[in-house]
Amino acid sequence: MNMTNALLLFAACTSLAPTAMAATGHAHEHGVASLNVARSGGSLLIELDGPLDNFVGFEHAPRNAEQKRRLADALAILREPARVVNLPAAAACRLVDAAVAEPFAEKPGAAHDAGDENHADLEANWHFECANAAALDGFEVTLFKHFPRLGKLRVQVAGDGGQSAQTLRPASAQVGF
């Protein structure tokens, strides 16, 4: 019954909870990636961030032709938004901008966590503009089909209708606004 104390207890425990990671960046947890979805009217911004392992199966600079090919394949998929998300056709969305941070690129400062020998992350973001915002009531994330090592997406949604935290899995990959 004492909800206040219960909440305080949980608040004290937050350092154990994944929520604390928001402060320092993100958890590096294999099989899990985070997806930020921000929406204002017809503008839709989607950000993906997760361990590189989820997408290519290794987390170091590619050492052979096979690994190079896998990395190139993964980046190619992410650069094609139709293979990442399935937006409702009625919303008439078009891609305005897409950026996929290439890990292990030679440009200094562009690659995140590339210096870390054991961990590397992959980051990407997409910006859509939708002509019919009213029809944009949610969308399906199709990443799981292309990246079988990805088991879970922690989604943060911020939009005109409110904010929410959602968890997607291959079996239930629908983001709702």
Partner: protein, 419 residues
């Protein structure tokens, strides 16, 4: 078989003492189950409706849940503060539409004092985007003016023009700022949020009452009269947290990252709705455990019902034999005893629902006052119906135990009981 129902009712009425006690046991367990579910739901809803249309909450770096709880729900205390220049830097960003700073730490007779700016009344939203309304008066405009929440006004009997003094800190160790009284200039309409339990003053007022203080205590020998404070610089130095609204919500994650990665001051920006969901993922485990325990209590209640029904069969052998002589089959006897058990469960559920209404009705004010939980009486909704259905199903299954026993007993006894 439906013709047996009046007989089942008459039989239960004949055993009304044990039947009544059984119903009460079932009703208490059902009301516990429904009460926990109602509290779980209403708590979540009342928390979720406390803050809306605020895109980010910014505070000193700590845990996101901790920041959410102390800044908006007034639960717990901040361990660190945000410098005023940092707030100003955020406000100056072009994607930011508004910033409402919050300065906590003082109290008035158990209620929190919130130092803020008049923008609070313009931008703070609750529920599905509702604004704060004034029941009487106006926002504070000057030092030593205060606006009180609906519950503060109701409980302490404040109206416009009332004179109040604030205290440093909250809880047991408070030191009165007795030399600098405030006048109440506005009373807010009820919102069902912690705002109802707040005393709102300007950031300058917070500075003013602490001019002659240092480290949480008055500086010995230094006394600055209220009329003198205006001569000092009352610009805020630090605040506890700030609510931030954006011009374009699509930018919220970029701004959050920019604030969190700001190297000038360790800050934390959270999305309140997201953090609340994450908090609920954790609290939800506890709530589910509580619900599971309540379900076990219902199982205990139904076990008691089975025990009472089975025990009654011994003294009802003659009654059941008479029914057999009149042409009732063992199936009729089965149905009769099962119907009695199900009727007891049904009565327990109905009484349990009524009990929850009474409890919620009588405890709503107390829960609101002490825990900030807005619980509402009313018919069961959604999942509560499902729970009631589950209880009835369990009652139906439990009724098979005495019914089967009666069936076998009446097969053996026939029309005549040899006793």
């Amino acid at each position: 078989m439906i013709r047996l129902l009046p007989l089942a009712l008459a039989s239960l009425w004949n055993r009304r003492l044990t039947a009544g006690l059984t119903v009460i046991v079932v009703a208490l367990s059902v009301s516990l189950l429904l009460g926990v579910e109602r509290l779980r739901n209403d708590a979540r809803e009342s928390f979720a409706s406390t803050v809306s249309r605020t895109d980010l909450i910014v505070g000193a770096r700590s845990g996101p849940v901790q920041l959410l709880l102390y800044s908006v729900f007034h639960i717990g205390d901040a361990t660190n503060e945000v410098s005023w220049p940092a707030v100003q830097r955020i406000a100056a960003r072009q994607e930011v539409a508004w910033v409402v700073p919050l300065s906590l730490g003082d109290s008035h007779r158990g209620f929190r004092v919130v130092g803020t700016t008049p923008d609070f009344f313009r931008h703070y939203r609750y529920g599905d985007g509702r604004r704060i309304g004034f029941a009487a008066g106006r926002p504070f405009a000057d030092v030593f003016e205060a606006v009180v929440g609906a519950e503060v006004a109701a409980r302490l009997g404040y109206r416009e023009g009332a004179r109040i003094t604030l205290a440093h800190g909250s809880g047991e160790h408070v030191a009165e700022h007795g030399d600098k009284p405030f006048s109440v200039v506005g009373v807010l309409a009820p919102t069902g949020t912690p705002v109802d339990r707040s005393v709102l003053v300007s950031l300058e007022s917070i500075e003013a009452i602490h001019l002659d203080w240092q480290g949480g205590a008055p500086i010995p020998g230094l006394k600055i009269a209220p009329e003198m404070v205006r001569k000092f610089d009352l610009a805020p130095k630090r605040v506890t947290a700030a609510l931030v609204g954006l011009e374009n919500r699509a930018m919220v994650f970029r701004l959050q990252r920019a604030i969190n990665e700001d190297t000038r001051e360790p800050l934390l920006a959270i999305l309140p709705g997201v953090t609340l969901d994450q908090l609920w993922d954790v609290v939800g485990i506890g709530a589910r455990v509580l619900l599971a325990v309540s379900a076990l209590v219902v199982a205990v209640g139904l076990a008691g019902l089975v025990a009472v029904m089975v025990a009654s069969l011994g003294e009802r052998r003659r009654e059941l034999a008479i029914l057999r002589a009149l042409g009732a089959g063992p199936r009729d006897v089965f149905f009769l005893v099962a119907a009695e058990s199900v009727l007891l469960t049904l009565a327990g559920c109905v009484l349990g629902v009524a009990l929850v209404q009474v409890l919620v009705f009588s405890m709503a004010a107390w829960l609101q006052a002490n825990y900030g939980l807005a619980v509402s009486p009313g018919w069961p909704v959604g999942r509560e119906w499902m729970l009631l259905g589950a209880v009835m199903l369990a009652g139906l299954l439990a009724s098979l135990v005495p019914a089967l026993r009666a069936y076998r007993q009446s097969l053996a006894d026939g029309m005549m009981v040899r006793m």
